[in-house]
């Protein structure tokens, strides 16, 4: 344990110790580091590997569906593939990438903190995430194969009669580990944001990304313990002879759905809010303007979090045992704060001097794709429409629009913050080619599925009726999946091509927030010095003293 001093003076000799941090190197550094930047980078690399694994599963699924009676995989393999595709993408990629990877690296620097509040707990979170991922994926190497009951693990499909074998247990075990990893990260982020801010960094001066991560952390603490409890009940049903989710012993199968979705719907916002934060930062920086409606943005985020605890059963409309009007009203209400965010993103771009860098293109692509996903979500919040489209490809298309928007936002985040983490920029031309493949691929991939869903094609089926139009639409969707795969490949090519080629400097984007005040990559405890914080854009204020910080609602012209 070392006492860490606050960076007060410029070039203070006392802080040179931090810069020359003599820690272990190589594999020992990876195993023992408690530095949030090293842990965050481990998270980033692991999450991107999971994205590639989950993406490969998706390509196989789309290959199978490219013809009506596909023979690429057997029915049993298909069940494992769609289960593990969903599980890997939701549990092992999107969540950890959102609140483990970039959040871990950026949030402490954005508020002027030397590290996360609990560095060793942070390291433990990463190890639980990595071992949880290995646990879940190792199901493929067991005799019975991996879990095959869908990523939602509905009872009674997931009980010991319908899903015997180690694969299902490994799925439960992997989720227990990654669940605790998420809970610890939630505790860590909350404590860091509450207690380690720099002087003058009041709550209403924190960057939107940090705000969104705070709200995400609170949602994690509300939701994940419920999932963990549900998983323990499921395990007990499978092995200890309890009958919590089985009708035979007086249990209630639909209770699993209540528990799962009470976690599952907040989880949607746990995934989405960090990416909303990234996009907000990026749009403001590349529009050369402050965020439009800063406080409105924060209240919208808090409203989404508040409402998200009361919408879970809109996944269960067709069970016939839930209160339809309540969940319909609450789900529709979420469109209001989300709409506020949409208008604020557009308002931030409005009359700005927009710089279409790769990060900005990805962010604008996110806004479009998320709008498609969001609007179709409003349809699904209406029970009569949901009865018609439940468990069809319409739902699949809806949430793929949403999550592919998040992938676009995540890529925007990597292009924007990557230079801060590594010290080197990525190639912009390759980045823009990657953007067009990803953006067009996403639309080509999702739009046929909307039509298929409205025509009644059910999800999770390895074969479908040999109708020429259905085959055609499925082939277009498969083409979209190939384009998305090419874009991911282009990202890897860009990483290799740009390796240590374009030095970034401290602030390549002339950005607003504190992480751009320090060096790229930042020193061991992040800062040698801090600027005086007088607004939510401290780095901008320091670099552009001619545009002094204005209070909210104040205009430059009113003060001569």
């Amino acid at each position: 344990m070392t006492d860490v001093l606050h960076p007060v003076h410029v070039g203070d000799a006392a802080h040179d110790d931090h810069a020359e941090h003599h820690g272990p190197t190589g594999i020992l550094k990876w195993l023992t580091s408690t530095d949030h930047k090293v842990i965050g980078l481990s998270y980033t690399v692991t999450a991107v590997v999971m994205l590639v694994i989950g993406g490969l599963f998706a390509e196989i699924i789309r290959g199978q569906l490219a013809s009506a009676n596909g023979t690429l995989v057997s029915f049993a393999q298909y069940n494992e593939l769609f289960t593990m595709h969903g599980s890997v993408m939701i549990y092992l990629f999107a969540g950890p990438f959102a609140f483990g990877a970039l959040a871990n690296i950026i949030v402490p620097i954005q508020i002027g903190a030397p590290d996360m509040a609990f560095p060793r707990l942070n390291a433990l979170s990463y190890w639980l995430y990595l071992t949880g991922s290995i646990t879940m994926l190792s199901g493929f190497f067991t005799a019975g194969g991996a879990a095959n009951f869908g990523w939602v693990g509905y009872a009674p499909l997931s009980n010991s009669l319908n899903a015997p074998g180690a694969g299902a247990d490994l799925w439960i075990g992997g989720l227990l580990l990654t669940g605790f990893s998420a809970i610890f990260t939630g505790v860590n982020l909350t404590a860091t944001i509450f207690y380690l801010r720099a002087p003058g960094m009041t709550m209403f001066r924190m960057p939107i990304f940090t705000w969104n991560l705070l709200v995400t952390a609170i949602l994690i603490l509300l939701a994940f313990p419920v999932l963990t409890a549900g998983l323990i009940m499921l395990y007990a049903d499978r092995h200890f002879g309890t009958h919590i989710f089985t009708v035979a012993g007086g249990g209630v199968p639909v209770l699993w759905q209540h528990i799962f979705w009470f976690w599952g719907h907040p989880e949607v916002y746990i995934l989405a809010l960090p990416f909303f934060g990234m996009v907000t930062e990026i749009i403001a920086v590349f529009s050369r303007k402050p965020v439009f409606g800063y406080k409105g943005m924060i209240f919208a985020t808090l409203s989404i979090a508040a409402l998200s605890l009361g919408v879970w059963a809109h996944h269960m409309f067709t069970t016939g045992v839930v209160l339809l009007p309540f969940f319909s009203i609450m789900s529709l209400l979420i469109a209001v704060p989300t709409g506020i965010k949409m208008f604020n993103w557009i308002g931030t771009m409005w009359r700005g001097q927009i710089w279409f860098s790769t990060a900005m293109l990805m962010a604008v692509g996110f806004v479009f794709t998320f709008l498609v996903g969001g609007i179709t979500g409003i349809y699904l919040a209406s029970p009569p429409l949901d009865f018609f489209t439940h468990d069809t490809y319409f739902v699949v298309a809806h949430f793929h629009s949403v999550v592919m928007a998040l992938v676009l936002a995540g890529m925007a985040g990597l292009y924007y913050w990557g230079p801060k983490i590594t010290g080197y920029l990525l190639n912009e031309t390759l980045g823009k080619i990657q953007f067009w493949f990803l953006f067009i691929g996403t639309q080509v991939f999702t739009f046929p599925m909307y039509i298929l869903g409205l025509q009644g094609m059910p999800r999770r089926m390895a074969v479908y009726p040999n109708d020429p139009q259905w085959v055609h639409l499925n082939q277009i969707a498969s083409l979209g999946a190939v384009l998305i795969g090419v874009s991911t490949l282009l990202f890897v090519v860009n990483l290799i091509y740009s390796w240590k080629k374009y030095p970034a400097g401290d602030n390549p984007w002339d950005a607003h927030t504190l992480e751009w005040f320090t060096t790229s990559p930042p020193p061991h405890h992040n800062f040698y010095r801090l600027p005086q914080i007088r607004s939510e854009r401290p780095t901008w204020d320091h670099n552009h003293p001619e545009h002094r910080a204005l209070h909210h609602g104040e205009h430059e012209t009113t003060h001569a």
Partner: protein, 130 residues
């Protein structure tokens, strides 16, 4: 500290109202209990922060006019490196594998976890490596 407290209390109040409406209208217990617990989870830290925010002087990070010098001093004690999170992680991994491959794996799993608890605690007490 006041903003943090008010945010949690506001969330808790909203969950409380939502819980009352839902439970009385639907008479479904699982969701009602979970929403009620969500409310408690917001009130518990929220009330604690509120209680403290009225008893402590304004912190530099809560003062919009704070200067950098007000934050001078020790921020906290941070470990440079530590192997114990890795050991504890491997312990948790082994414990979870015991759920699948056999209860005997609990022995090495709990052993690793206990070793990590002892190691981590004593590292915190005596001060670890730089």
């Amino acid at each position: 500290m006041k903003v943090e407290a008010k945010m949690l209390l506001a969330l808790g109040t909203f969950f409380g109202i939502m819980c009352a409406v839902y439970w009385n209208w639907s008479l479904e217990n699982a969701g009602g209990v979970m929403m009620f617990a969500g409310m408690l989870l917001c009130f518990l830290p929220g009330l604690y922060y509120y209680w403290w925010s009225r008893r402590m002087p304004t912190r530099p990070e809560d003062n919009p006019q704070a200067t950098r010098e007000e934050g001078a001093g020790v921020v906290g004690a941070f470990p440079g490196t530590s192997i114990w999170p890795f050991v504890l992680g491997m312990g948790a991994f082994t414990i979870v594998l015991s759920l699948v491959f056999g209860i005997w794996l609990l022995v090495p799993g709990l052993g690793l976890a206990a070793w990590a608890f002892l190691g981590g605690t004593s590292e915190g007490r005596r001060g670890g490596q730089h």
